[in-house]
Amino acid sequence: MSTDTHDITVTVNGTRYQRQVDARMLLSDFLRHDLLLAGTHVGCEHGVCGACTVIFDGAAVRSCLMFAAQADGHAITTVEGLAADGERLHPLQEAMRDCHGLQCGYCTPGVLMTMKAFLDETPRPDEAQIREALSGNLCRCTGYQHIVEAVALAAERLRS
């Protein structure tokens, strides 16, 4: 099989990484197992569940549907880079905690990254908009209600 490799330079959470990767290496596997940023989770490997969502040049994307080689020259934010400093949680994270927006926590990193990109574009969302934006992330634990409440609360806190 393919032994093609590519030399790539990727900026993840503000750090530049230079690596050689197999052409077929998925971005999700690269982040998790090469860069050891295992906060990005993999739930379905076919782009449905949204657990692997990262922010790629400002847009929420599914890292299981991209090759690592395609990230060459691009900037990525993962859940590990969401809180600005090591101490305090990002307002989205804080609101998820306040509203009990997570249970097993497996889908949570993908939810956070999708909602981060969403709130950047839609700072005053109503519930229907939140639900629509969230509908690409599957959560099997929460029934979504507390996540929706958390996103609304985070939006409010981010505005003030």
């Binding site: 290496m25 998790r32 739930g43 076919h46 926590g105 969230l134 509908s135 959560c139 099997r140």
Partner: protein, 781 residues
């Protein structure tokens, strides 16, 4: 005592790590020299294995080993029976458990044939295509109704009629009740439950440390202690040589309590044999075949009623699909059998079921564990009876409730936990009243629905009731220790998959020990931290382990008071524990920190009195005499698009009695998540097999989990009837949300479309827009 933690909606201790992406899940374990496993799985549902040639796979670069059943030698053996059949007279049970790698024949699509161990998962999967397998197809047993035919093929050659089990349970005399009846209703019901589909699939990492003589296994299991014990026995090790860690687990819902999955047998063995760490992570496609699921039952039920709607008796016969093997015994069908009794007085009951082997993946409990099937039967019977007897759907239920003064109420059947089916406590009328009020039952029917109908809108209302056996034995334990830094550690043997144990257990201990919830660190699912336990299932974690935590906390509290009394030379009654210290009441300045006391309890030098135990520590166990019975009612107002049959839930109400509540925030989350899974089961999710046993929708693009657009906001009401079976008065809550959603959907959709007056009943689940179109004949205007 300071502010009470128990009962408060406290934020969770575990959230910060999960939110930062710092929590450890199995696939996050990285070890030097680790190999990656991929399994070759059968693509046929039923076939004889003629040959498996792995030579080309073994020769591929990067491949370290390839094994088939032959290579396992004496290690190859069918798995254990996890739950033996209960002592029911005349019971037939044919035990056939799964094997680590198929030998001789395959019995369902996805059954593993061989395993490749390679330097990466990519290479391991490449090598799967190098393996040459010759399979001779056999007729597949798929359909439940024909599985038992004399001419049918046999899933297991020596099991006639594919009968996995046959069970009959009787209370009273149905025939006599039937002869007295004013009204008899007989119907066929089909209920199909689906795949639990946690967002994290299963996974295992095994590491054999040859110098330390120690095996460590990280596994997405709900039952780490049993996994440890079984692995030790299979591998010829002492239990102390095996450490099983269930770290953060990304959802369980039942199938992760199943063991031993073939991969759980093969991966630790391979790690030991190769002396290299080995990782296997199930992919989503594998999950649809390799992880257990729930599926169909077909019920033929008859209810005998008196004129006013009182139940005189019920007779039910059903067939249950157990899949290719039956390692979990009879838990699922017995739950179905007993759930038909619901919250009602049913003095005469005759129930017979046959569990059949089929060429489909194994069936084991998934959230609700067969209760859905039974609740569907009784709730549909009540609806049909109400319609035929011209009674209100709510009134007929109330009329048949077990009265509040009848508890404990003995149903005279044997439960899945081998104990008699006895409901400990409840006030079913109070729950119903609250649900009626919250949904606005009478106002909707009298005022709102006629107006909506006049506008051409198809809006209906539904209300269903259920009971749920929870908190069964045998036991759990907890070890609590006050550390020298004043913080408290709790260790328990159960695993956790999102239920909030890190917080709820801390809340139970916090009040006893006078410390903040955030200063209590809970460890679950690590067999080196706590040796004993059964696992997280049957809505039992909070009940059984929670009460063990309470007992241990009380014991530690006694030790704290005793030592502090010696320290202050005062009576224990003069002391109070709060804010992390013990103080003498009414004497300012007379206080000692818990940490300092913990240090005193573990002196480095000097003598202690004989019999003194070191530390402020206690290990206690709790085993309930029998399970507790929670109950509830769900109600819904739903609008059906008469053209597309798409649904919009306008209002959803859950009223629930799970006894004393530890943390209402966590409880609400459990209920919300259960309802979401119930909605998936009722209207979106179905495993579709063709007649050759091939699953046609094995992806999340085709097997539809509800999204944020399908799950409505829910309003939750509580009533509290404390359980007399444990000191905290807790009943379990993990499954309640999921159990009664199917019959609720059927009833409310019937009401919305006005189906019953047209003679159309929705007697099956799941429904879907397509299925509604088929059942109702045509789109309605």
């Amino acid at each position: 005592m300071a502010t009470r933690s128990f009962g408060a909606p406290i934020r969770r201790n575990e959230d910060a790590r999960l939110l930062r992406g710092e929590a450890l899940f199995v696939d996050d374990v990285e070890l030097p020299g680790m190999l990656h496993a991929a399994f070759l799985r059968s693509n046929l549902a039923h076939a004889t294995i003629r040959s498996i040639d792995v030579s080309a796979a073994r020769a591929r670069e990067g491949v370290v080993a390839v094994y088939t059943a032959e290579d396992l030698g004496a290690y190859w053996a069918p798995g254990p029976l996890l739950v033996p059949p209960p002592p029911i007279k005349g019971l037939v049970f044919n035990q056939r458990t799964q094997v680590p790698l198929a030998k001789g024949k395959v019995r369902h699509v996805g059954e593993p044939l061989a395993v490749v161990l390679a330097q990466s998962r990519y290479l391991a999967e490449d090598a799967l295509s190098d393996i040459a397998v010759e399979l001779d197809p056999l007729p597949a047993i798929v359909d439940l109704e024909t599985a038992g035919a004399e001419a049918a093929a046999r899933v297991h050659e020596d099991v006639r009629g594919n009968v996995a089990a046959h069970v009959r349970q009787i209370r009273g005399k149905y025939a006599a009740a039937r002869s007295r009846a004013d009204h008899i209703i007989a119907r066929r019901f089909r209920y199909d439950h689906g795949a639990s589909s946690p967002i994290e699939t299963r996974g295992i990492v095994a590491n054999w440390d040859a110098r330390g003589n120690q095996l460590t296994v990280w596994d997405t299991t709900q039952a780490p202690v049993f996994l440890r014990n079984g692995l030790a026995a299979m591998l010829g090790l002492n239990e102390r040589q095996v450490r099983v860690i269930a770290p953060f687990v990304g959802g369980g819902f039942g199938p992760k309590i199943m063991l031993f999955y073939p991969e759980e047998v093969v991966i630790p063995w391979a790690a030991k044999k190769l002396n290299r760490p080995v990782k296997w992570i199930e992919d989503r496609l594998e999950h649809f075949f390799a992880t257990t699921q729930e599926r169909s039952q077909i019920h033929d039920a008859e209810i005998a009623l008196a004129r006013g709607g009182r139940i005189l008796g019920i007779r039910d016969t059903f067939v249950h699909d157990t899949g290719a093997y039956n390692p979990y015994g009879l838990t699922v069908p017995i739950n179905s059998q007993i759930s038909i009794l619901g919250p009602y007085v049913v003095e005469n009951y005759e129930s017979t079921f046959t569990a059949v082997f089929t060429n489909k993946p194994i069936v084991t409990p998934y959230r609700g564990a067969g209760r859905q099937h039974g609740v569907f039967v009784i709730e549909r019977l009540m609806d049909i009876a109400a319609h035929e007897l011209k009674l209100d759907r709510v009134d007929i239920r109330r009329r048949n409730f077990i009265p509040t003064d009848a508890f404990p109420y003995n149903n005279e059947l044997i439960n899945q936990d081998f104990a008699p089916l006895e409901y400990d406590s409840g006030d079913y009328g109070a729950v119903l009243d609250k649900a009626i009020e919250m949904i606005g039952w009478r106002r909707f029917l009298a005022e709102e629905q006629p107006l909506l109908r006049a506008q051409g809108r198809r809006v209906g209302i539904g209300l269903v009731c259920y009971v749920e056996g929870t908190g069964i034995g045998p036991y759990e334990g907890a070890k609590i220790q006050v550390q020298a830094n004043g913080k408290v550690s709790i260790a328990t043997g159960i695993g956790t998959q999102g239920q909030g144990h890190f917080t709820s257990f801390a809340q139970i201990a916090a009040d006893q020990l006078g410390v903040e919830v955030r200063d209590i660190a809970v460890v679950t699912g690590d067999t080196d931290q706590f040796y004993w336990g059964a696992g997280t299932f049957a809505s039992r974690g909070a009940v059984v382990a929670g009460n063990a935590v309470n007992e241990a906390a009380k014991a530690v509290r006694q030790k704290i008071l005793k030592l502090a009394a010696e320290h202050f030379e005062c009576a224990e009654e003069d002391l109070e524990i709060a804010n992390g210290e013990v103080s003498v009441v009414g004497v300012p300045g007379q206080a000692i920190k818990l940490g300092a006391l913990a240090l005193k309890a573990n002196p480095m030098r000097g003598a202690v009195r004989p019999g003194t135990e070191p530390g402020l520590e206690s290990t206690q166990y709790f085993g309930p005499p029998s399970g507790t019975t929670a109950n509830g009612a769900h109600a819904m107002i739903v609008e059906v698009d008469p053209q597309t049959f798409a649904l919009k839930v306008l209002k959803y109400v859950v009223v629930h009695d799970c006894g004393t509540v530890i943390n209402p925030l966590i409880l609400a989350g459990q209920v919300h998540g259960g309802v979401a899974q119930g909605i998936g089961n009722a209207f979106y999710e179905q495993l579709v097999f063709d007649d050759e046993g091939q699953l046609l929708n094995a992806s999340l693009a085709d097997y539809l989990l509800p999204t944020a657009l399908e799950v409505p906001n829910m309003e939750i009401g509580h009533t509290v009837t404390a359980s007399p079976l444990n000191p905290l008065g807790i009943k379990g809550a993990g499954e309640a949300g999921a159990i009664p959603v199917g019959p609720l959907f059927a009833q409310a959709i019937e009401d919305a479309l006005g189906l019953l007056p047209q003679g159309i009943e929705l007697n099956e689940i799941p429904l879907s827009p397509n299925r509604l179109f088929e059942l109702t004949g045509k789109p309605r205007r």
